[in-house]
Amino acid sequence: MDAAALIERIALHVPGVALEAAPSTDMPTIYVPAGQLVPVCAALRDHAGFSLLIDITAVDYLPREPRYEVVYHLCAPDARLRARLKVKLAAGTTLPTAQSVWPAAGWPEREVWDLFGLVFDGHGDLRRILTPDDWEGHPLRKDYPVQVRKVAQTYEPLEVTEQEFRANIARDRVTRDPEAKA
């Protein structure tokens, strides 16, 4: 099945969505507008058998405009088909999360946010996943510097004065009625 046939199959279920076949060497590839991503994904899952989300990733095409492409790899295990969805994204714009269609989208979307800084609307748990929580920048962007020395970050150990220490002990002391049973 090529991209045109795939578009034909799902076009009925997502009327009015501008799907565009993209050139590819290995599997049908479709450009999807960011706003229509979720209905297109749902149509692919429900009407074309793409029950398996293989991976979500992004590519930074700096200096091209629009700068980013978010890439979804899908698989229909029974029909033995594969497909690739791509969403063109300009810097500063967002796209919706696909978690409602494939729960597995949660972590790869976090990874894309972590490494590219692309925001998935409605994700609910968009935290850093591979880099530390206090990391600055998004390393897989093409304008992120490489081969730069960074000083390792350390933290001073927590210190309390003797008075604070004794006050803590006093606060935590529990008196129990010796008669009461556990």
Binding site: D26, I54, D55, V59, H73, P77, L130, L140, Y144, A180
Partner: protein, 393 residues
């Protein structure tokens, strides 16, 4: 009588914990011994391999990707080499494909042996670890024979192999394949009907097929829940279509089913490997003859000017790959390994992305261990076969 205090307790498991397979951290909220809620934290092994790969030439990425999933090193490099060859549109000689099939299956055996040893050890059968590592040692010796490197041989290259198989290779592989099935029987004697092992694994860590597909766990986990999806059958790569083997599947979906599935997979791998070694001739083509990518043979480099120039070009500038993108999946030991590459037509990759099966297995952990016993958490992590190098990359 005073009312008993009931409150949940939050405990931290990992990142340094003997049964979290590297550095996986779980924050468990417990009600007594029942896991009520859990949160998985990963990233402790993040080494930025994908970013590093963008600074390297195409052929220099092979050793990098092998270090992602360090137990299935050569299925990483195989997926990468296949992706690049797809973009280059290269034809790979039949003999090279058979050698790659053999390497992929031996790699699966290596990975499953580590899995079996560590998983059984974590739930109390410590001796299994010694037995499994004993056999894995022999497989590592075969790696050493072919490439001089045991864990990360970098023997699979874009366009073929690094060099021809060494003398004595057939003897070494055949000796292993003849010996190994009896060792599998030995493992089964120790675990399959072991009452304690079955109590710890049967009905534990249940992952139904629907959940496995929702959480994107194709591979051993889905096949232990009734799926028959295997990349080798569904999307045949290399020369797998010419091999006679079965895709085992079990309907139960618990830890015990995953154990039995992986043991059956090892028997199937032996079957494929035996067919492969019978097809591989002792000498012959070990790489494509396409001199854009594969350096010319050494005797020509020493005698012909053009060959010498080409040799230097490949090793200094590297080769260029036509602009485009490719994703080729292979069936790794943990499920679908795939490498997505984007080329801008130069000698360095624009983007290299590994589809990591362990990443998805970690994501699904909280769902699987929910409302189970804390002692079963270890059994579930073990049976998911997560490799943190694969998760964090």
């Amino acid at each position: 009588m005073a009312e008993m205090r009931t409150e949940t307790m939050t405990i931290n498991m990992g990142p340094q914990h003997p049964s979290t397979h590297g550095v996986l951290r779980l924050v468990l909220t417990l009600d007594g011994e029942i896991v009520k809620k859990s949160e998985v934290t990963v990233g402790y092994l993040h080494t930025g391999i994908e970013k590093t790969a963008e600074q390297k030439k195409w052929q220099q990425v092979i050793p990098l990707v092998e270090r992602m999933d360090y137990l299935g090193a050569q299925s990483n490099s195989l997926a990468y080499a296949l992706s690049v060859e797809k973009l280059l549109g290269m034809e790979i000689p039949e003999r090279v494909q058979d050698i790659r099939v053999l390497i992929a299956e031996l790699q699966r055996l290596m990975s499953h042996l580590v899995w079996l040893g560590t998983h059984a050890m974590e739930i109390g059968a410590v001796s299994m670890m010694l037995y499994c590592f004993r056999e894995r040692e022999q497989l590592l010796n075969i790696n050493e024979l072919t490439a001089g490197f045991r864990l990360f041989p970098s023997y699979i290259r874009v366009g073929g192999l690094r060099e021809d198989i060494p003398r004595g290779y057939h003897e070494a592989v055949n000796a292993f394949l003849d010996m190994f099935p009896s060792k599998l029987d030995e493992y089964e004697d120790m675990l399959t009907k072991n009452h304690i092992y079955r109590l710890r694994t049967e009905g534990v860590g249940f992952i139904p097929l629907e959940t496995a597909l929702q959480w994107s766990l194709p591979g051993p986990i889905a096949r232990a829940a009734g799926s028959t999806y295997d990349v080798r059958k569904a999307f045949p790569y290399l020369s797998y279509a010419n091999y006679d083997f079965e895709v085992p599947s079990f309907p139960e979906g618990d830890v015990y089913a995953r154990y039995r599935l992986r043991l059956r997979e090892m028997r199937e791998s032996v079957k494929i490997a035996k067919q492969a070694i019978a097809r591989i001739t002792p000498t012959g083509a070990w790489a494509s003859s396409d001199t854009r990518v594969v350096p010319p043979p050494k005797d020509k480099v020493y005698t012909e000017m053009e060959a010498l120039i080409q040799h230097f070009l490949i090793y200094s500038q590297g080769f260029t790959v036509p602009a485009g993108e490719a994703y080729v999946p292979v069936e790794g030991a943990r499920g679908e390994h795939g490498v997505y590459i984007v080329s801008d037509g130069t000698n360095r990759p624009w983007r290299v992305k590994m589809r990591a099966p362990s990443f998805y297995a970690c994501q699904a952990l909280p769902t699987v261990i929910q409302d189970g016993m804390i002692a079963d958490v270890v059994a579930v992590i073990g049976s998911s076969d997560v490799v943190m190098g694969d998760v964090d990359r």
